[in-house]
């Protein structure tokens, strides 16, 4: 390696001094703000509510499609992850793409919610929210977008209700085939852990701390790597807030309602209900052979929560649906946030939805 010239060395030192100053300033800001990031900042209005479930509509003056898009996710994360941070938000990408965006948020469950079953989320709340979105927009149908477990709920609605109001479906990292599940949940899928053991007997919920630690165990060095990344980039203002948002997501889980957890662990994980075709939503069979609406499956190639092989099994269980898929070179989080989402996932979804939505 050739040593830098004196001029280069001076500019290098000058740069490092400038960065050290900025690091000190941002470091103080980071410590005093307690790591509080602006998440879920896109302006929105509450349009429907049932129990703890809420439906939000994002404000937009540039809606170009009449068919609204309803976003939902599962029961372990907070809904702001789909609207993570200004400039790094799936909701923002869709809104900028001309869509009327709704988000169904299940909130943070308490003991009353512990008795909620899968039907409560995949049918009662989802149907109510779909009707509310239709009512708000005057549209006949709605496009659905489900991330992770949210994709399971959307598919259950499609397979169990012939009169569903969905005209197209986008699924992101759908956990389908649990023979190929992540090591994190393998003991549950193989029946080696009884779901009962994970449910707190006082509250009837799977504690958020337990879920957080389970995720942490898949990448034990993740936190320290994040701190290294933070130190390296602390001089950049825009990085600091993005880092706070991402860190908040990774550590911010909600308790899982016990009754729904029991059903999910037994029918979907252990009995592999989507693949075997034996899944039921309360009394209704979930028959995915009847699904004829267009489906777009975006999967992450390096997904540590929903492995690619689990997600790609969707193609085989939707024999009658026009099916498209997108493989993104990202992990579970990178699929819906960050650069890969902005450059690959979001444009893919927008292209699919624009072909299957009614123009305004």
């Amino acid at each position: 390696m050739t040593p830098p010239s004196p001029t280069d060395a001076v500019s290098l030192i000058q740069r490092e001094v400038d960065r050290a100053r900025l690091r000190a300033r941002n470091g103080i800001r980071y410590v005093t703000a307690g790591g509080v990031a602006r998440v879920g900042a896109t302006p929105k209005d509450l349009v429907w509510q049932r129990d703890r479930a809420t439906l939000w509509r994002y404000r937009s003056d540039e809606v170009r499609y009449r068919t609204p898009v309803l976003l939902m996710l599962g029961l372990v994360s907070r809904s702001y992850i789909l609207d993570l941070h200004p400039g790094n938000s799936l909701v923002e990408h869709l809104r900028n793409g001309g869509f009327d965006v709704f988000l169904l948020d299940f909130g943070v469950p308490d003991e009353v919610d512990a008795a909620n079953r899968l039907v409560t989320y995949a049918d009662v709340y989802l149907r109510g929210a779909l009707e509310a979105a239709r009512r708000e927009t005057g549209a006949d149908t709605v496009s659905g977008l489900g991330y992770c477990m949210g994709a399971n709920f959307m598919l259950m609605q499609l397979g169990a209700r012939t009169g569903h109001r969905l005209s197209s479906l986008v699924v992101l990292a759908p956990p389908i085939d649990f023979r190929h599940c992540a090591p994190l949940i393998r003991p549950l899928a193989e029946g080696k852990i009884d779901p009962e053991e994970l449910i707190d007997e006082e509250t009837g919920l799977v504690p958020a701390g337990l879920i957080r630690n389970a995720f942490r165990s898949t990448k034990p060095t993740h936190e320290i790597v994040q701190y290294a990344n933070l130190w390296e980039n602390l001089w950049r203002d825009e990085y600091l807030e993005g880092h706070q948002a991402m860190t908040r997501w990774v550590g911010d889980h909600v308790p899982f309602p016990g009754a729904a957890f029991r059903q999910y662990a037994r029918s979907i994980m252990r009995d592999n209900g989507f693949v075997t075709g034996h899944l039921r939503l309360a009394t209704r069979p979930v028959n995915l052979q009847t699904v004829r609406i267009p489906v777009f499956n975006a999967m992450a190639e390096f997904d540590e929560i929903v492995p690619l092989r689990s997600a790609e099994a969707l193609a085989g269980i939707l024999p009658n649906a026009p099916y498209e898929e997108l493989r993104v070179s990202a992990g579970h989080i990178g699929l819906v946030a960050g650069r890969r989402c902005a450059k690959v996932t979001a444009p893919g979804i927008i292209s699919f939805l624009s072909r299957h939505s009614e123009a305004a």
Partner: protein, 111 residues
């Protein structure tokens, strides 16, 4: 998580290369440990033990408080659980009303 050589403003940062080297070596064995069945079983036993110990303390404490004609935590919990059950039943009924108000399932199918 960042992958590959880490650069900042064009130059490779020496401390970062060293960090990545160590992290790369440590991550595999550590993940193996944290996801091992042995650790899982240990955690499970610890949780069960804590639960059993908690019940024992709770029972002993309740017996003492009952001797003094005072309600124990478990009595408060029992009442709270009954209220929760009641709220759950009300919720179920309201869900049934909601479902009846929605269009029937044999309405024209979106296709």
């Amino acid at each position: 998580m960042q992958q590959g050589p880490i650069t900042s403003g064009g130059g490779v940062i020496p401390w970062r290369s060293a960090f990545d080297l160590v992290e790369g070596r440590v991550q595999g064995p550590l993940t193996k440990l944290t996801t091992s069945p042995e650790l899982r079983d240990t955690v499970r036993i610890a949780r069960r033990t804590r639960r059993t110990a908690g019940r024992l303390v709770d029972r002993t404490g309740a017996a003492v408080l009952h001797q003094l004609h005072l309600p124990a935590y478990r009595d408060v919990r029992r009442i709270s659980r009954q209220l929760t059950t009641l709220e759950q039943r009300v919720r179920e009924l309201s869900h049934q009303i909601d479902q009846d108000a929605l269009p029937p399932d044999d309405a024209p199918v979106a296709d």
